[in-house]
Protein backbone atom coordinates (compact mmCIF):
# COMPACT_ATOMS: atom_id res chain seq x y z
CA UNK A 1 0.00 0.00 0.00
CA UNK A 2 1.23 3.46 -0.82
CA UNK A 3 1.44 6.29 1.68
CA UNK A 4 -1.29 8.91 1.50
CA UNK A 5 0.12 11.84 -0.42
CA UNK A 6 2.35 9.62 -2.55
CA UNK A 7 -0.76 7.74 -3.54
CA UNK A 8 -2.55 10.95 -4.49
CA UNK A 9 0.42 12.07 -6.57
CA UNK A 10 0.53 8.67 -8.24
CA UNK A 11 -3.20 8.89 -9.05
CA UNK A 12 -2.96 12.41 -10.48
CA UNK A 13 0.08 11.29 -12.47
CA UNK A 14 -2.08 8.56 -14.08
CA UNK A 15 -3.82 11.27 -16.13
CA UNK A 16 -0.55 13.03 -16.96
CA UNK A 17 1.11 9.81 -18.11
CA UNK A 18 -1.95 8.65 -20.05
CA UNK A 19 -2.20 11.97 -21.91
CA UNK A 20 1.53 11.95 -22.63
CA UNK A 21 1.22 8.40 -24.03
CA UNK A 22 -1.72 9.50 -26.19
CA UNK A 23 0.29 12.48 -27.47
CA UNK A 24 3.14 10.13 -28.41
CA UNK A 25 0.79 7.73 -30.17
CA UNK A 26 -0.88 10.55 -32.09
CA UNK A 27 2.49 12.16 -32.91
CA UNK A 28 1.63 12.55 -36.61
CA UNK A 29 -1.36 14.71 -35.68
CA UNK A 30 0.72 16.63 -33.14
CA UNK A 31 3.27 17.52 -35.80
CA UNK A 32 0.53 18.50 -38.28
CA UNK A 33 -1.20 20.64 -35.65
CA UNK A 34 2.08 22.29 -34.65
CA UNK A 35 2.92 23.13 -38.28
CA UNK A 36 -0.60 24.55 -38.73
CA UNK A 37 -0.24 26.74 -35.62
CA UNK A 38 3.22 27.93 -36.67
CA UNK A 39 2.01 28.78 -40.19
CA UNK A 40 -0.98 30.66 -38.76
CA UNK A 41 1.30 32.64 -36.45
CA UNK A 42 3.69 33.48 -39.28
CA UNK A 43 0.82 34.53 -41.56
CA UNK A 44 -0.51 36.92 -38.93
CA UNK A 45 2.95 38.34 -38.26
CA UNK A 46 3.64 38.87 -41.95
CA UNK A 47 0.53 41.05 -42.06
CA UNK A 48 2.14 43.19 -39.34
CA UNK A 49 5.47 43.21 -41.20
CA UNK A 50 3.76 44.36 -44.39
CA UNK A 51 1.45 47.00 -42.89
CA UNK A 52 3.72 49.90 -43.81
CA UNK A 53 3.84 48.67 -47.40
CA UNK A 54 0.08 48.02 -47.55
CA UNK A 55 -1.02 51.34 -46.04
CA UNK A 56 1.81 53.54 -47.28
CA UNK A 57 1.94 55.08 -43.81
CA UNK A 58 4.91 54.90 -41.40
CA UNK A 59 4.37 52.12 -38.81
CA UNK A 60 6.53 50.93 -35.91
CA UNK A 61 6.85 47.47 -37.47
CA UNK A 62 8.99 46.01 -34.65
CA UNK A 63 6.37 47.02 -32.08
CA UNK A 64 3.48 45.78 -34.22
CA UNK A 65 5.10 42.38 -34.91
CA UNK A 66 5.92 41.88 -31.25
CA UNK A 67 2.38 42.99 -30.27
CA UNK A 68 0.90 40.31 -32.51
CA UNK A 69 3.54 37.73 -31.56
CA UNK A 70 2.53 38.08 -27.91
CA UNK A 71 -1.12 37.71 -28.90
CA UNK A 72 -0.59 34.66 -31.07
CA UNK A 73 1.76 32.89 -28.62
CA UNK A 74 -0.34 33.58 -25.55
CA UNK A 75 -3.47 32.52 -27.41
CA UNK A 76 -1.71 29.33 -28.49
CA UNK A 77 -0.84 28.61 -24.84
CA UNK A 78 -4.10 29.65 -23.18
CA UNK A 79 -6.37 28.07 -25.77
CA UNK A 80 -4.45 24.78 -25.55
CA UNK A 81 -4.84 24.77 -21.74
CA UNK A 82 -8.53 25.59 -22.11
CA UNK A 83 -9.13 22.92 -24.78
CA UNK A 84 -7.34 20.08 -22.98
CA UNK A 85 -9.16 20.70 -19.69
CA UNK A 86 -12.53 21.59 -21.22
CA UNK A 87 -12.49 18.55 -23.51
CA UNK A 88 -11.36 16.09 -20.86
CA UNK A 89 -14.84 14.53 -20.68
CA UNK A 90 -15.56 14.84 -24.41
CA UNK A 91 -12.26 13.07 -25.12
CA UNK A 92 -13.12 10.18 -22.79
CA UNK A 93 -16.47 9.89 -24.53
CA UNK A 94 -14.85 9.75 -27.98
CA UNK A 95 -12.39 7.09 -26.82
CA UNK A 96 -15.17 5.11 -25.12
CA UNK A 97 -13.42 5.16 -21.74
CA UNK A 98 -15.67 7.58 -19.86
CA UNK A 99 -17.35 4.88 -17.78
CA UNK A 100 -14.06 3.20 -16.89
CA UNK A 101 -12.41 6.44 -15.82
CA UNK A 102 -15.38 7.74 -13.85
CA UNK A 103 -15.89 4.48 -11.93
CA UNK A 104 -12.25 4.41 -10.80
CA UNK A 105 -11.66 5.25 -7.11
CA UNK A 106 -10.35 8.73 -7.86
CA UNK A 107 -11.60 11.98 -6.31
CA UNK A 108 -12.63 14.27 -9.15
CA UNK A 109 -10.28 17.01 -7.93
CA UNK A 110 -7.28 14.67 -8.42
CA UNK A 111 -8.56 13.72 -11.86
CA UNK A 112 -8.71 17.38 -12.86
CA UNK A 113 -5.37 18.27 -11.21
CA UNK A 114 -3.62 15.55 -13.22
CA UNK A 115 -5.30 16.74 -16.42
CA UNK A 116 -4.45 20.40 -15.71
CA UNK A 117 -0.77 19.62 -15.00
CA UNK A 118 -0.50 17.90 -18.37
CA UNK A 119 -2.41 20.72 -20.10
CA UNK A 120 0.03 23.31 -18.76
CA UNK A 121 3.18 21.29 -19.54
CA UNK A 122 2.01 20.45 -23.05
CA UNK A 123 0.89 24.00 -23.81
CA UNK A 124 4.08 25.61 -22.44
CA UNK A 125 6.31 23.38 -24.59
CA UNK A 126 4.20 23.87 -27.70
CA UNK A 127 3.91 27.64 -27.33
CA UNK A 128 7.61 28.04 -26.47
CA UNK A 129 8.50 26.21 -29.69
CA UNK A 130 6.22 28.49 -31.73
CA UNK A 131 7.56 31.60 -29.95
CA UNK A 132 11.17 30.51 -30.48
CA UNK A 133 10.63 29.68 -34.17
CA UNK A 134 8.95 33.03 -34.87
CA UNK A 135 11.66 34.94 -32.95
CA UNK A 136 14.30 33.32 -35.14
CA UNK A 137 12.44 33.94 -38.40
CA UNK A 138 11.68 37.61 -37.65
CA UNK A 139 14.88 38.30 -35.70
CA UNK A 140 12.93 40.07 -32.96
CA UNK A 141 14.96 41.80 -30.26
CA UNK A 142 13.68 41.21 -26.73
CA UNK A 143 16.53 42.89 -24.91
CA UNK A 144 14.18 45.35 -23.15
CA UNK A 145 11.53 42.81 -22.24
CA UNK A 146 10.79 42.07 -18.60
CA UNK A 147 10.36 38.29 -18.53
CA UNK A 148 9.73 38.13 -14.79
CA UNK A 149 6.58 40.24 -15.19
CA UNK A 150 5.41 38.09 -18.12
CA UNK A 151 6.12 34.85 -16.24
CA UNK A 152 4.32 36.01 -13.08
CA UNK A 153 1.25 36.99 -15.13
CA UNK A 154 1.22 33.68 -17.00
CA UNK A 155 1.52 31.66 -13.77
CA UNK A 156 -1.26 33.54 -11.95
CA UNK A 157 -3.40 33.80 -15.09
CA UNK A 158 -3.15 30.07 -15.83
CA UNK A 159 -5.01 29.26 -12.61
CA UNK A 160 -7.99 31.41 -13.60
CA UNK A 161 -7.91 29.90 -17.10
CA UNK A 162 -8.02 26.41 -15.59
CA UNK A 163 -11.02 27.42 -13.46
CA UNK A 164 -12.83 28.65 -16.56
CA UNK A 165 -11.95 25.46 -18.45
CA UNK A 166 -13.28 23.26 -15.61
CA UNK A 167 -16.58 25.14 -15.80
CA UNK A 168 -16.63 24.58 -19.58
CA UNK A 169 -15.78 20.87 -19.11
CA UNK A 170 -19.19 20.46 -17.51
CA UNK A 171 -20.91 21.04 -20.87
CA UNK A 172 -19.83 17.73 -22.50
CA UNK A 173 -20.85 16.04 -19.25
CA UNK A 174 -24.39 17.46 -19.39
CA UNK A 175 -24.94 17.55 -23.14
CA UNK A 176 -23.69 14.28 -24.54
CA UNK A 177 -23.84 15.29 -28.19
CA UNK A 178 -23.60 19.08 -28.24
CA UNK A 179 -21.40 19.77 -25.21
CA UNK A 180 -18.12 19.72 -27.15
CA UNK A 181 -19.60 22.11 -29.70
CA UNK A 182 -20.63 24.47 -26.89
CA UNK A 183 -17.07 24.56 -25.49
CA UNK A 184 -15.86 25.40 -29.00
CA UNK A 185 -18.21 28.41 -29.05
CA UNK A 186 -16.78 29.59 -25.68
CA UNK A 187 -13.26 29.08 -27.06
CA UNK A 188 -13.92 31.25 -30.13
CA UNK A 189 -15.77 33.91 -28.09
CA UNK A 190 -12.73 34.26 -25.81
CA UNK A 191 -10.59 34.81 -28.90
CA UNK A 192 -12.87 37.62 -30.06
CA UNK A 193 -13.40 39.56 -26.85
CA UNK A 194 -10.03 39.24 -25.08
CA UNK A 195 -7.87 41.51 -27.24
CA UNK A 196 -5.72 38.73 -28.67
CA UNK A 197 -4.85 40.49 -31.95
CA UNK A 198 -6.33 43.96 -31.43
CA UNK A 199 -6.93 46.22 -28.41
CA UNK A 200 -10.39 45.72 -26.89
CA UNK A 201 -11.09 49.45 -27.44
CA UNK A 202 -11.84 48.73 -31.11
CA UNK A 203 -14.65 46.32 -30.24
CA UNK A 204 -18.24 47.58 -30.48
CA UNK A 205 -19.68 48.58 -27.10
CA UNK A 206 -21.87 45.50 -26.72
CA UNK A 207 -18.81 43.23 -27.19
CA UNK A 208 -16.48 45.37 -25.11
CA UNK A 209 -18.56 44.73 -21.98
CA UNK A 210 -17.62 41.05 -22.23
CA UNK A 211 -13.86 41.68 -22.27
CA UNK A 212 -13.46 42.23 -18.49
CA UNK A 213 -15.10 38.83 -17.86
CA UNK A 214 -12.32 36.99 -19.70
CA UNK A 215 -9.09 36.28 -17.77
CA UNK A 216 -7.24 36.37 -21.11
CA UNK A 217 -7.90 40.14 -21.36
CA UNK A 218 -5.84 40.80 -18.19
CA UNK A 219 -3.18 38.20 -19.07
CA UNK A 220 -2.52 39.69 -22.51
CA UNK A 221 -2.58 43.28 -21.32
CA UNK A 222 -0.03 42.58 -18.59
CA UNK A 223 2.23 40.32 -20.66
CA UNK A 224 2.39 43.12 -23.24
CA UNK A 225 3.33 45.59 -20.51
CA UNK A 226 6.17 43.25 -19.51
CA UNK A 227 7.45 42.28 -22.96
CA UNK A 228 6.72 45.40 -25.03
CA UNK A 229 7.40 48.14 -22.48
CA UNK A 230 9.67 46.24 -20.08
CA UNK A 231 7.23 47.11 -17.26
CA UNK A 232 7.80 45.70 -13.77
CA UNK A 233 5.44 43.83 -11.46
CA UNK A 234 4.25 47.09 -9.89
CA UNK A 235 2.81 48.14 -13.26
CA UNK A 236 0.69 44.99 -13.54
CA UNK A 237 -0.20 44.60 -9.85
CA UNK A 238 -3.85 45.52 -10.47
CA UNK A 239 -4.26 42.88 -13.17
CA UNK A 240 -2.44 40.30 -11.04
CA UNK A 241 -4.92 40.90 -8.21
CA UNK A 242 -7.88 40.54 -10.58
CA UNK A 243 -6.42 37.31 -12.01
CA UNK A 244 -5.72 35.93 -8.53
CA UNK A 245 -9.29 36.68 -7.45
CA UNK A 246 -10.65 35.12 -10.65
CA UNK A 247 -8.57 31.99 -10.04
CA UNK A 248 -9.57 31.80 -6.37
CA UNK A 249 -13.24 31.99 -7.37
CA UNK A 250 -13.28 30.02 -10.61
CA UNK A 251 -11.32 26.91 -9.53
CA UNK A 252 -13.47 26.00 -6.47
CA UNK A 253 -16.61 27.08 -8.34
CA UNK A 254 -15.58 24.91 -11.30
CA UNK A 255 -14.95 21.90 -9.06
CA UNK A 256 -18.27 22.38 -7.30
CA UNK A 257 -20.18 22.78 -10.57
CA UNK A 258 -18.41 19.73 -12.00
CA UNK A 259 -19.32 17.62 -8.96
CA UNK A 260 -22.97 18.68 -9.15
CA UNK A 261 -23.04 18.10 -12.92
CA UNK A 262 -21.56 14.63 -12.46
CA UNK A 263 -24.28 13.85 -9.92
CA UNK A 264 -26.94 15.09 -12.34
CA UNK A 265 -25.39 13.00 -15.13
CA UNK A 266 -25.51 9.92 -12.89
CA UNK A 267 -29.15 10.55 -12.07
CA UNK A 268 -30.15 10.98 -15.70
CA UNK A 269 -27.88 8.36 -17.26
CA UNK A 270 -25.60 10.69 -19.24
CA UNK A 271 -22.30 9.07 -18.36
CA UNK A 272 -22.62 6.71 -21.28
CA UNK A 273 -19.84 6.33 -23.83
CA UNK A 274 -22.10 7.62 -26.60
CA UNK A 275 -24.88 10.13 -26.78
Amino acid sequence: MMLTGTRELNTAYAFFERNWNLTRRYMGWEVAWFVYSLMSALTILFIAAATEKITGQPVDTRFFVLYLLIGTTMWSYLSAVFDIVAETIAWERWEGTIEYTLMAPVPRALHLIGTCCYAITYSVVRSALIFGAVLLIFGIDLAHANFITALAVVVVGSVSMIGLAIVAAVLPLLFTERGAQMTFVIHSSLLLVSGVYAPIDVLPGWLRVLAPLSPITYILRSVRVGLLDGGGLDQVAGDLVVLAVMGALLVPAGLWIFREAERFAKRTGRLKRSG
Binding site: T11, R18, N21, A104, P105, V106, R273
Partner: protein, 285 residues
Protein backbone atom coordinates in the same frame (compact mmCIF):
# COMPACT_ATOMS: atom_id res chain seq x y z
CA UNK B 1 -6.82 -10.43 -1.49
CA UNK B 2 -5.44 -7.01 -0.60
CA UNK B 3 -8.70 -5.26 -1.46
CA UNK B 4 -10.74 -7.87 0.39
CA UNK B 5 -8.65 -7.31 3.51
CA UNK B 6 -9.26 -3.58 3.19
CA UNK B 7 -12.98 -4.24 2.86
CA UNK B 8 -13.05 -6.49 5.91
CA UNK B 9 -11.01 -3.97 7.93
CA UNK B 10 -13.43 -1.23 6.94
CA UNK B 11 -16.38 -3.36 7.98
CA UNK B 12 -14.80 -4.21 11.31
CA UNK B 13 -14.23 -0.54 12.00
CA UNK B 14 -17.80 0.24 10.97
CA UNK B 15 -19.24 -2.38 13.26
CA UNK B 16 -17.10 -1.22 16.20
CA UNK B 17 -18.28 2.34 15.68
CA UNK B 18 -21.94 1.46 15.43
CA UNK B 19 -21.86 -1.50 17.85
CA UNK B 20 -23.63 -3.64 15.24
CA UNK B 21 -23.82 -7.27 16.34
CA UNK B 22 -22.31 -9.03 13.33
CA UNK B 23 -20.39 -8.55 10.14
CA UNK B 24 -22.55 -8.47 7.05
CA UNK B 25 -20.34 -10.28 4.60
CA UNK B 26 -22.81 -10.22 1.73
CA UNK B 27 -20.68 -9.18 -1.19
CA UNK B 28 -23.63 -7.41 -2.76
CA UNK B 29 -26.99 -6.40 -1.40
CA UNK B 30 -29.64 -4.78 -3.58
CA UNK B 31 -32.86 -3.79 -1.81
CA UNK B 32 -35.98 -2.48 -3.55
CA UNK B 33 -33.89 -0.78 -6.22
CA UNK B 34 -35.72 1.08 -8.99
CA UNK B 35 -34.45 3.22 -11.81
CA UNK B 36 -36.35 5.04 -14.50
CA UNK B 37 -35.27 7.30 -17.31
CA UNK B 38 -37.00 10.16 -19.01
CA UNK B 39 -37.00 10.18 -22.78
CA UNK B 40 -38.45 12.72 -25.17
CA UNK B 41 -40.24 11.31 -28.19
CA UNK B 42 -43.07 12.56 -30.39
CA UNK B 43 -46.29 10.67 -29.67
CA UNK B 44 -47.20 10.57 -33.38
CA UNK B 45 -44.87 10.68 -36.41
CA UNK B 46 -46.40 13.98 -37.59
CA UNK B 47 -46.03 15.57 -34.17
CA UNK B 48 -43.16 18.07 -33.99
CA UNK B 49 -43.03 18.61 -30.23
CA UNK B 50 -41.57 15.79 -28.20
CA UNK B 51 -43.52 14.34 -25.32
CA UNK B 52 -41.84 13.48 -22.03
CA UNK B 53 -41.95 9.74 -21.46
CA UNK B 54 -40.91 7.76 -18.34
CA UNK B 55 -39.19 4.47 -19.06
CA UNK B 56 -38.84 2.06 -16.16
CA UNK B 57 -35.46 0.34 -16.51
CA UNK B 58 -35.28 -1.47 -13.14
CA UNK B 59 -38.38 -2.01 -11.06
CA UNK B 60 -38.15 -2.79 -7.33
CA UNK B 61 -35.40 -5.41 -7.58
CA UNK B 62 -34.13 -7.11 -4.42
CA UNK B 63 -31.38 -9.73 -4.17
CA UNK B 64 -28.21 -10.59 -2.28
CA UNK B 65 -25.00 -12.19 -3.45
CA UNK B 66 -22.86 -13.97 -0.84
CA UNK B 67 -19.08 -13.72 -1.02
CA UNK B 68 -17.48 -16.06 -3.56
CA UNK B 69 -20.63 -16.66 -5.61
CA UNK B 70 -20.95 -16.30 -9.37
CA UNK B 71 -24.36 -14.68 -9.77
CA UNK B 72 -25.87 -14.59 -13.24
CA UNK B 73 -28.40 -12.10 -14.57
CA UNK B 74 -30.43 -13.15 -17.58
CA UNK B 75 -32.81 -11.01 -19.57
CA UNK B 76 -33.76 -9.85 -23.03
CA UNK B 77 -32.32 -6.67 -24.52
CA UNK B 78 -33.69 -3.69 -22.60
CA UNK B 79 -34.68 -5.80 -19.59
CA UNK B 80 -32.52 -3.67 -17.24
CA UNK B 81 -29.39 -5.84 -16.85
CA UNK B 82 -26.88 -3.16 -17.82
CA UNK B 83 -28.73 -0.47 -15.86
CA UNK B 84 -28.51 -2.67 -12.78
CA UNK B 85 -24.77 -3.22 -13.33
CA UNK B 86 -24.23 0.52 -13.86
CA UNK B 87 -26.01 1.38 -10.61
CA UNK B 88 -23.84 -1.14 -8.73
CA UNK B 89 -20.73 0.29 -10.38
CA UNK B 90 -21.66 3.85 -9.22
CA UNK B 91 -22.22 5.14 -12.77
CA UNK B 92 -25.94 5.67 -12.14
CA UNK B 93 -27.89 6.76 -9.09
CA UNK B 94 -30.92 4.66 -8.18
CA UNK B 95 -34.26 6.47 -7.83
CA UNK B 96 -35.42 4.21 -5.03
CA UNK B 97 -33.93 1.51 -2.81
CA UNK B 98 -30.32 0.89 -1.87
CA UNK B 99 -27.26 -0.98 -3.09
CA UNK B 100 -24.36 -1.94 -0.86
CA UNK B 101 -21.09 -3.76 -1.48
CA UNK B 102 -19.71 -5.59 1.55
CA UNK B 103 -22.04 -3.46 3.66
CA UNK B 104 -20.90 -0.15 2.19
CA UNK B 105 -23.55 1.97 0.48
CA UNK B 106 -22.62 2.73 -3.14
CA UNK B 107 -23.74 6.36 -2.83
CA UNK B 108 -22.52 7.48 0.60
CA UNK B 109 -19.31 5.38 0.52
CA UNK B 110 -18.68 5.73 -3.20
CA UNK B 111 -14.88 5.89 -3.17
CA UNK B 112 -14.44 2.85 -0.91
CA UNK B 113 -16.91 0.88 -3.03
CA UNK B 114 -15.10 1.88 -6.20
CA UNK B 115 -11.87 0.54 -4.72
CA UNK B 116 -13.48 -2.88 -4.26
CA UNK B 117 -15.17 -3.30 -7.63
CA UNK B 118 -14.24 -3.51 -11.27
CA UNK B 119 -16.28 -3.97 -14.39
CA UNK B 120 -15.73 -5.63 -17.72
CA UNK B 121 -18.33 -4.56 -20.26
CA UNK B 122 -19.39 -5.86 -23.65
CA UNK B 123 -17.23 -3.23 -25.39
CA UNK B 124 -13.67 -3.34 -24.12
CA UNK B 125 -13.31 0.29 -22.96
CA UNK B 126 -9.69 1.13 -23.75
CA UNK B 127 -7.63 3.87 -25.27
CA UNK B 128 -7.25 1.93 -28.50
CA UNK B 129 -4.13 3.83 -29.63
CA UNK B 130 -2.36 2.84 -26.41
CA UNK B 131 -0.80 -0.57 -25.83
CA UNK B 132 -2.19 -3.09 -23.31
CA UNK B 133 0.69 -2.22 -20.96
CA UNK B 134 0.00 1.52 -21.21
CA UNK B 135 -3.68 0.90 -20.51
CA UNK B 136 -2.77 -1.34 -17.58
CA UNK B 137 -0.36 1.25 -16.24
CA UNK B 138 -3.17 3.83 -16.31
CA UNK B 139 -5.53 1.44 -14.51
CA UNK B 140 -2.88 0.50 -11.93
CA UNK B 141 -2.21 4.12 -11.00
CA UNK B 142 -5.95 4.87 -10.76
CA UNK B 143 -6.33 2.02 -8.28
CA UNK B 144 -3.33 3.06 -6.18
CA UNK B 145 -0.67 0.69 -7.52
CA UNK B 146 2.87 1.92 -8.15
CA UNK B 147 4.50 1.82 -11.58
CA UNK B 148 6.97 -0.98 -10.81
CA UNK B 149 4.32 -3.15 -9.22
CA UNK B 150 1.86 -2.54 -12.07
CA UNK B 151 4.48 -3.24 -14.72
CA UNK B 152 5.63 -6.53 -13.19
CA UNK B 153 2.12 -7.73 -12.31
CA UNK B 154 0.66 -6.56 -15.62
CA UNK B 155 3.19 -8.48 -17.71
CA UNK B 156 2.72 -11.55 -15.53
CA UNK B 157 -1.08 -11.49 -15.88
CA UNK B 158 -0.96 -10.80 -19.61
CA UNK B 159 1.51 -13.62 -20.08
CA UNK B 160 -0.79 -15.98 -18.18
CA UNK B 161 -3.60 -14.98 -20.55
CA UNK B 162 -1.44 -15.76 -23.58
CA UNK B 163 -0.47 -12.17 -24.42
CA UNK B 164 3.31 -11.97 -24.84
CA UNK B 165 5.53 -8.99 -24.10
CA UNK B 166 5.79 -7.92 -27.75
CA UNK B 167 1.99 -7.84 -28.22
CA UNK B 168 1.63 -6.08 -24.87
CA UNK B 169 3.58 -3.11 -26.22
CA UNK B 170 1.66 -2.67 -29.49
CA UNK B 171 -1.50 -0.53 -29.82
CA UNK B 172 -4.75 -2.17 -28.74
CA UNK B 173 -6.34 -1.28 -32.09
CA UNK B 174 -4.17 -3.95 -33.74
CA UNK B 175 -5.67 -6.68 -31.57
CA UNK B 176 -8.75 -8.85 -32.20
CA UNK B 177 -11.87 -8.33 -30.05
CA UNK B 178 -11.18 -11.56 -28.21
CA UNK B 179 -7.67 -10.43 -27.33
CA UNK B 180 -8.99 -7.01 -26.27
CA UNK B 181 -11.49 -8.70 -23.98
CA UNK B 182 -8.66 -10.73 -22.43
CA UNK B 183 -6.80 -7.48 -21.76
CA UNK B 184 -9.99 -6.12 -20.15
CA UNK B 185 -10.00 -9.10 -17.83
CA UNK B 186 -6.27 -8.69 -17.16
CA UNK B 187 -6.97 -5.07 -16.21
CA UNK B 188 -9.69 -6.19 -13.83
CA UNK B 189 -7.38 -8.82 -12.29
CA UNK B 190 -4.63 -6.24 -11.84
CA UNK B 191 -6.73 -4.22 -9.41
CA UNK B 192 -7.78 -7.29 -7.36
CA UNK B 193 -11.50 -6.50 -7.16
CA UNK B 194 -13.51 -8.34 -4.53
CA UNK B 195 -16.65 -7.79 -6.59
CA UNK B 196 -16.31 -8.16 -10.32
CA UNK B 197 -19.12 -7.00 -12.60
CA UNK B 198 -19.11 -8.69 -15.99
CA UNK B 199 -21.60 -7.14 -18.40
CA UNK B 200 -21.94 -9.56 -21.33
CA UNK B 201 -18.17 -10.18 -21.49
CA UNK B 202 -18.44 -12.91 -24.16
CA UNK B 203 -20.95 -11.30 -26.52
CA UNK B 204 -19.60 -11.27 -30.06
CA UNK B 205 -16.58 -13.45 -29.32
CA UNK B 206 -15.63 -16.52 -31.38
CA UNK B 207 -16.10 -19.91 -29.63
CA UNK B 208 -12.44 -20.24 -28.63
CA UNK B 209 -12.17 -16.73 -27.20
CA UNK B 210 -15.50 -17.25 -25.45
CA UNK B 211 -14.23 -20.45 -23.83
CA UNK B 212 -11.00 -18.70 -22.78
CA UNK B 213 -12.93 -15.86 -21.15
CA UNK B 214 -15.28 -18.30 -19.38
CA UNK B 215 -12.30 -20.23 -17.98
CA UNK B 216 -10.82 -16.95 -16.76
CA UNK B 217 -14.06 -16.15 -14.94
CA UNK B 218 -13.92 -19.47 -13.10
CA UNK B 219 -10.24 -18.92 -12.39
CA UNK B 220 -10.93 -15.49 -10.89
CA UNK B 221 -13.28 -16.94 -8.34
CA UNK B 222 -10.96 -19.85 -7.47
CA UNK B 223 -7.65 -18.02 -7.31
CA UNK B 224 -8.61 -14.45 -6.49
CA UNK B 225 -11.50 -15.01 -4.09
CA UNK B 226 -13.65 -12.69 -6.20
CA UNK B 227 -17.43 -12.52 -6.13
CA UNK B 228 -18.76 -12.23 -9.67
CA UNK B 229 -21.96 -10.78 -11.10
CA UNK B 230 -22.35 -11.82 -14.72
CA UNK B 231 -24.94 -10.70 -17.26
CA UNK B 232 -25.25 -12.80 -20.38
CA UNK B 233 -27.52 -13.84 -23.22
CA UNK B 234 -25.77 -17.19 -23.47
CA UNK B 235 -27.81 -19.78 -21.56
CA UNK B 236 -25.11 -22.46 -21.75
CA UNK B 237 -22.62 -20.00 -20.32
CA UNK B 238 -25.00 -19.09 -17.50
CA UNK B 239 -25.64 -22.77 -16.78
CA UNK B 240 -21.92 -23.61 -16.76
CA UNK B 241 -20.59 -20.68 -14.76
CA UNK B 242 -23.27 -19.43 -12.39
CA UNK B 243 -24.17 -20.68 -8.93
CA UNK B 244 -27.47 -18.80 -9.03
CA UNK B 245 -29.39 -16.92 -11.67
CA UNK B 246 -31.82 -14.05 -11.69
CA UNK B 247 -34.15 -13.55 -14.63
CA UNK B 248 -35.06 -9.94 -15.35
CA UNK B 249 -38.04 -9.01 -17.46
CA UNK B 250 -38.93 -5.38 -18.15
CA UNK B 251 -36.89 -4.37 -15.13
CA UNK B 252 -38.48 -6.82 -12.71
CA UNK B 253 -36.83 -9.85 -11.14
CA UNK B 254 -39.16 -12.72 -12.06
CA UNK B 255 -37.03 -15.62 -10.80
CA UNK B 256 -33.96 -16.14 -8.62
CA UNK B 257 -32.64 -19.65 -8.12
CA UNK B 258 -29.89 -22.12 -8.96
CA UNK B 259 -29.72 -23.30 -12.59
CA UNK B 260 -30.65 -26.81 -11.43
CA UNK B 261 -33.75 -25.63 -9.56
CA UNK B 262 -34.82 -23.42 -12.45
CA UNK B 263 -34.61 -26.42 -14.77
CA UNK B 264 -36.46 -28.61 -12.29
CA UNK B 265 -39.70 -28.56 -14.29
CA UNK B 266 -37.86 -29.97 -17.32
CA UNK B 267 -36.16 -28.56 -20.40
CA UNK B 268 -33.04 -26.55 -20.90
CA UNK B 269 -32.26 -23.20 -19.30
CA UNK B 270 -33.28 -21.57 -22.58
CA UNK B 271 -36.69 -23.31 -22.40
CA UNK B 272 -37.10 -22.08 -18.83
CA UNK B 273 -36.11 -18.53 -19.83
CA UNK B 274 -38.57 -18.52 -22.75
CA UNK B 275 -41.34 -19.93 -20.55
CA UNK B 276 -40.76 -17.43 -17.74
CA UNK B 277 -40.57 -14.37 -19.97
CA UNK B 278 -43.60 -15.47 -22.04
CA UNK B 279 -45.65 -15.98 -18.88
CA UNK B 280 -44.75 -12.46 -17.84
CA UNK B 281 -45.70 -11.10 -21.25
CA UNK B 282 -49.06 -12.89 -21.04
CA UNK B 283 -49.64 -11.59 -17.53
CA UNK B 284 -48.77 -8.07 -18.67
CA UNK B 285 -51.15 -8.38 -21.63
Amino acid sequence: MRTLNVAVALLERETQNTSAPSLDLKALSVRGMSKHFVSYKPRFPWQKRAVKKHVVAVDDVTFEVPRGEIFGILGANGSGKSTLIRVISTLLLADEGSVSVFGLDVVSRELQVKQMINRVSVDAAFFKKLSPMENLMYAGRLYGLGATQTHARGLQILDRLGIGTRVALNPMEDMSRGMQQKVAIARALLTSPVLLLLDEPTTGLDPRSKKDVQNMVLNMRQQHDATIVLTTHDMDEADRLCDRLMVLDRGRAIAIDTPANLKHGGGSLEDVFMRLTTEEEDAAA
